[in-house]
Amino acid sequence: MENKENLMYKIMTTSLIMTSMLMTTFKNWMILYITMELLTMTTLLLMSLNSKNAQSKEGSMKYLMLSAISSTMLITGMLLTSYQHNSQNMMLKTLLSSNNNMMLTMILFKLGSAPFHIWVTDMYEATKTMNLPLIILIPKMAIISTLMTFETSNNILLMSGILSTTMGAMGAMNQKKMKRLLAYSSINNMGIMIMGLHMYTLPSMQAIMMHMMIYTTTLTIMLMTLHHTYYKKQLTSETFQNDKSNHTHKIIISTLLLSLSGLPPFPGFLSKWLIMSSTMKQQLMLTSTWMLMTNIPSTAYYLYTMMYSYFKTIMSTTKTMTENNMNNNNKYKMAILTFPILSTLIHPQLMLMPTWTVSTKMMNVPSNNKSPNNKIYINTHTQSKN
């Protein structure tokens, strides 16, 4: 029985990863739709692994309903455009450039950006912490990379980005639960990434790739650490209570939170700075100001979380959990993930170079063309305006 479940779990995870990889490769809307549906299914299965939990049921139900609606939206959009174009061959690029926002909204739903973010928090709470990185991060990466391939200087993206940053910053202000807080922070980060996508210049693409890499690794490490931390009610105040056994967890989580809030010696600063500077290069001052302004409350709640670990008195010292503690093997794994990501700023070129190459590949520009007046550095839409 145990073996069978294990096998099932493995099949599910591999299918999730495979579908995500498939999604990045295809250029046809129909296949994109199919892969998205597949993703939804595997995600639902993985969520319902935790079937004894009531919250899990609630979350998976919500996700099912909402994604059903958004899928219908996608189908409708596809039908409409095929009617407009009068052709069955629906390539990604042609469709989105004709500004069909129905499909874009569906993609935004999948990314979990506001105003279609409602499922995200429930999903975070519904799933086991161990499965969360799989469910949340891998599909997101795939979808973002598909979104990168089509040129969408669309105001919908900007609107959604602004809403997401606001929602992510404000929503978690009073949040008591750790996972929900992380969910809101993911909404906030998604908003920043979408704002970068909206610009659609080469530097901004690079910045998004950087942000994606850094953010996903950070969140994965954090979730892994939380998985090994004992907290019954999933409260923020509870997270760091086991002082004796958790001192490594404490350090890891607090440094990573500092990195997420974008403080200079950590990599989170680099990615945020890159996005911000590419925004400023486009002379979109209000947008970058908005990003900074929404970063303030989010930093506030990150710091608030850390405050529990260092400045609050520990309520009870009797709790000792041995089963959930990390063994040495896991500790090494964690260290292998943590140290490179925290020491990125010693040699950022190591990450900047591949992201640059990838973004040039995605935007189909020759990588050796480095004149700053090049079209790829400054988006033509803005330039032609004045």
């Binding site: 909204t105 609107m159 404000m170 209000l286 900047l352 839409h381 305006k385």
Partner: protein, 645 residues
């Protein structure tokens, strides 16, 4: 090899910091020493390459960052200046590392001390071998931090804390000046690389050049404790003696001088700042020497003498003789570290006593140290054919063009002789004022390592001057009157003889009010501290308390932000949380609402081809929030579509 030189101290730092419990202390110390020795070997090879073979090289280590609006490489630059500085730093560091294994024997925090020393060496090497101002700034800051950490090594002592704070405050001013000048260079010249900054001048740039070089001078003032920002140096003597020898005598304080030498191409473009540098140097030398004459604390006295020697170096740079300044810098490192290390032994002999009035007739107990200190003092006063003679004499002769500077320097030389005679007389040769109740230790110099250090440094401070003089500078002596060549020497000789006779005859007891006043004035360090504290520090603090804190921070900001804005934020975020309810219908409603509104948005956009958002036409920025979908950019696609239909 260049990288190994740099990374060996870093490795030593890492090892000593992390393996506190795992490796035995003595092993650790040997390891650290051998690392530094390795680094020293490398740097001497480098010195050989640069000095004898007359080469220089640049090594690119890695591309630190390269985005479309910024490019920064980390690369090293080795030429005569940096390699000689490297040699000096590593040899001093080696001496101090070895000395401190013995000196800190009874301290429980040997590991920490060793690791800080190694870290300091690393940052110093980084600073010396950088090829642009940004990397230099990095090393500069790191050196500052290490200085603070070491000064505050015994952090339970209040005085050490105070002095650390003072040092960091004073250094900050210089750091900010350096940062500002770096930014200015980046802005005006587009590069901070040293080679690119030569011959940058044109007629329009004079004011910019003046500003940049004045800022650089300000930076040097902070680090090298020239007059004005010097007040931290005497207080820095609160730390352990080996650290004072390494940082506040030999290496760190010369960083400012090094900076000025590095940016000589900029300084040469602005005659104003050169003159100011020369005058600053001469006055610093003079006034630090006067303060040195009336100090009673041994280490403070030495600190003032360091200050005075640094003034000499600045003077040499002010008259555009950079190589002489470098020569003096290297020579100074040897004899000054000898002075400090000897002082450390002397202090250990009599229960860590630093007051020279309480030390007496140590000649019998510590003959070796006496010998070393005597040599160092003689060197410092400029006795012919000892180390400092070569550089100091050259400097004096060259400064003759401006006779004021010359005479100031000569008086300083006399004063130098005065305070070093005083130091030697009081602590070594004078008869004790009390009778010994118990038999003094006759064998306080029992450690072989320490003794050999002293011996080696003594020999070096006798001989290095000749070597460095022949290798670094082959400058001709300027034409001056023949009588004047011997003037500084005669001055210092007469002063020391006078002092010795006066002291032995006990003729100094009849004090007049004027001498008392002068003495008080000097021993209060010309009231610089009082002035800074009463005029600047206190005024600023009161202003900050009443205006910034009481009115704006606790007044306006508290009212607006804490009482109103936070409440509003919290309330709103509560509402947003309510939005995340458990009701399915609500969720579906919002989804459908937004879906439809977003879809409608395209319709409107198609009609108007305009931006939905806050379009600020009067704004100087091109567009404020979003990018507009331009009519032209969409048209071709629509045209195509129509054709398809």
């Amino acid at each position: 090899m260049y990288l190994l030189t740099m990374s060996a101290p870093m490795m030593s730092f890492m090892l000593t910091l992390t393996h506190k419990e795992k490796i035995k202390t003595t092993t650790m110390q040997t390891l650290a020493c051998s690392m530094i020795f390795f680094s020293w070997m490398n740097s001497s090879i480098m010195l050989y390459e640069c000095m004898m073979n007359d080469t220089h090289c640049q090594t690119k280590i890695w591309n630190w960052m390269k985005t479309e609006h910024m490019e920064c490489k980390i690369s090293l630059h080795m030429d005569l200046l940096s390699s000689s500085m490297l040699f000096m730093v590593t040899s001093m560091s080696l001496f101090v590392h070895m000395y401190s294994t013995e000196y800190m024997k009874n301290d429980p925090h040997k590991h920490r001390f060793m690791s800080y020393l190694s870290l300091f060496t690393f940052f110093m090497l980084l600073m010396m071998s950088s090829n642009n101002y940004i990397l230099l700034l990095m090393g500069w800051e790191g050196v500052g931090i290490c200085s603070y950490l070491l000064m505050n090594f015994w952090y339970t002592r209040m005085q050490a804390n105070k002095s650390g704070m003072k040092a960091i405050m004073m250094n900050r001013m210089g750091d900010i000046a350096l940062l500002m000048s770096t930014m200015m260079m980046m802005n005006k010249f587009g590069s901070t690389k040293f080679e690119n900054l030569t011959h940058m001048i044109n007629n329009k740039m004079q004011t910019i050049m003046n500003t940049i070089s004045m800022l650089l001078l300000m930076g040097a003032m902070g680090k090298s404790s020239l007059m004005g920002l010097h007040v931290w140096l005497p207080d820095a003597m609160e730390g352990p003696t080996p650290m004072s020898a390494l940082m506040h005598a030999a290496t760190m304080v010369t960083a400012g001088i090094f900076l000025l030498m590095r940016s000589s191409s900029i300084l040469e473009e602005s005659k104003m700042s050169l003159t100011i540098t020369a005058w600053m140097g001469a006055t610093t030398a003079f006034f630090a020497a006067t303060m040195g004459t009336s100090q009673n604390d041994m280490k403070r006295m030495m600190a003032y003498s360091t200050c005075s020697q640094l003034g000499y170096m600045a003077l040499a740079m002010g008259i555009s003789k950079y190589s002489i300044s470098l020569l003096h810098l290297m020579n100074h490192a040897f004899f000054k570290s000898l002075l400090f290390l000897g002082a450390g032994i002397t202090m250990h002999t009599i229960k860590n006593e630093q007051d020279i009035r309480k030390l007496s007739s140590l000649m019998k107990q510590t003959p070796m140290t006496y010998m070393g200190l005597m040599t160092a003092s003689l060197t410092m006063t400029g006795t012919p054919f000892l180390t400092a003679y070569f550089s100091k004499d050259q400097m004096m002769e060259n400064s003759y063009k401006n006779s004021m500077l010359y005479w100031l320097a000569t008086i300083t030389a006399a004063l130098t002789a005065l305070y070093s005679t005083r130091l030697m007389y009081f602590s070594f040769t004078k008869k004790p004022q009390y009778t010994h109740t118990q038999k003094p230790h006759t064998t306080s110099e029992k450690d072989i390592l320490m003794n050999s250090m002293i011996m080696m440094l003594t020999l070096m401070s006798i001989s290095t001057g000749y070597m460095t003089y022949t290798m670094l500078t082959q400058q001709q002596h300027p034409l001056i009157t023949q009588k004047l060549i011997l003037t500084p020497l005669m001055c210092s000789m007469t002063t020391s003889m006078l002092m010795t006779t006066l002291y032995t005859n006990n003729n100094l007891h009849n004090k007049t009010t004027l001498t008392t006043l002068w003495k008080n004035f000097n021993s209060n360090a010309w009231n610089f501290n009082t002035f800074y504290n009463n005029m600047i520090g206190e005024k600023m603090l009161t202003l900050a308390h009443y205006q910034t804190y009481k009115h704006s921070d606790k007044g306006i900001l508290e009212k607006i932000i804490n009482n109103n804005l936070t409440n509003i934020m919290m309330h709103n975020s509560q509402n947003i949380s309510k939005f995340q309810s458990t009701k399915m219908t609500q969720h579906l409603l919002t989804m459908i609402l937004f879906y439809s509104s977003f879809t409608m948005h395209i319709k409107s956009q198609k009609l108007n081809n305009s931006v939905l958002f806050w379009k600020n036409t009067g704004c100087s920025f091109k567009s404020c929030l979003g990018q507009t979908m331009k009519h032209n950019s969409l048209m071709p696609q629509f045209a195509k579509l129509k054709i398809v239909k």
